[in-house]
């Protein structure tokens, strides 16, 4: 069975949804513990792998790709509503 999310780099704090994920879905991936989707997440969008504080760097590809603009709960959808530019 294919994992529903992909962690591109071991340093990443977000993963990519490989299909549409429903709110409340328990997501099993890799060999680690599962996470629960806090809300629905469209395919190819980002999901938080752990709680992120406001102003925390968002790491994807092992690199900083943005900064959270509000606290983000583990399992949340991460996009323009809660994430801004890397330097902002």
């Amino acid at each position: 069975m294919a994992d529903p999310i992909l962690v591109i780099h071991e340093k990443d704090n977000v993963a990519v949804a490989l299909r549409d994920i429903e709110a409340g879905e328990e997501i099993r991936f890799g060999n680690g513990p599962s996470i629960t989707a806090f809300e629905s997440i469209p395919a190819s969008h980002k999901i938080a792998l752990r709680d992120l504080a406001q102003g925390e760097k968002v790491i994807k590809y092992g690199e900083i790709v943005g900064t959270t603009t509000m606290p983000v709960k583990k399992g949340s959808w991460v996009h323009g509503h809660n994430m801004g530019a890397a330097d902002g």
Partner: protein, 389 residues
Amino acid sequence: MVDTPAINGYRRYDGRFGIRNHLLVIPTVSCVNGVVNRIGRAVPEAVCVPHAHGCGRGGSRDLTILFRVLSGLVRHPNVGAAVLVGLGCEVSNTKALAHLLEDLGKPLTVLNVQEEGGSLKTAEKAVAAAREHLADLARMERVPMGWEDLFLSIECGGSDAMSGVTANVAIGAVADWLVGHGATVMFGENTEMIGTAHVLARRAVNEEVARRITEMVDRAESLTREIMGDLASFVISPGNMDGGMTTIAEKSMGCIVKGGTGPIVEVVDYGETPTKKGLILQDGPGYDADSMAGFAASGSQLMFFSTGRGTPAGFPTVPVIKVASNSRLYRAMEDDMDINAGVLVEGVSLETLRDDMIEFMVRTINGRATKPEANDMGLFTFMTVHPPF
């Protein structure tokens, strides 16, 4: 998979290896494209590359690129012999090109339409020469080559939301394997590095390479702003946002991940040949067609090309391995796609896909045609800076 698969190619006079043994027929200027097309109809085994360039531009940057690309294609290691069809009065005329084709070490026939008595007589002579060259090429044999003799470039075009998740990640894994085996790997598309200059510069082997990376990406960013004005923000487009990309840095990371994680040893100008082995950046444009010509002029023998929406284009003298980012595209355009990286979301591991891609690459190097080669989808045009006079 064996740790170091055996590969072979055609050893050239300058020490480089070709993984193909093409007869190239190329015009110096668009005015004589018809002659080249006529040769192509008479000698279908020849690789004929009519183009839209050769005259009408005079700025030093455009001239440098024009001469570098035309001579680079003739010198290319996948080319075993060439017929150069000139006119006589063009900017990149055969006499002006001659000093760049010294010590060529391969058969070259040069014909000028204004000296041969017109287009038909030129074509007739060229066809006879082409047939002789083909007979000579058929007698050449492949010999073992090392991975350090391989120079591969990576392009992405017609990208989708999965390009940076599947195809480019898988190509990056192959790139790391290649660099680890001593090969040279290059990628370019400076507009698609915007927002990631610091990431790339940190991987530079020295201060000078870091400075060139930063200068290249900054220039791409200011040029984009200058050309597009307020629309420059659409470099991260509504379509990108719908696809889950939130920032320009995130979008660009999805592009540059195709080069893997190795140290960056050199930045070369558009079409310039690297002097080092390892991971190289080309300071060239994002437009696929122009970018591929720059890679070829630099001497790349092989290319990977990732696509999500589905572009079928290859390059005339260089095998291009097309990598689909999703299974829907792969199934819809199987005639044009070589590899389906969409299997990554269907339970296939990155290691398995990487190994499959390396095996495919080995077969390609050793002579098996890629889809763009088999379909004759080679495309040749190249970058210009200024409008024509």
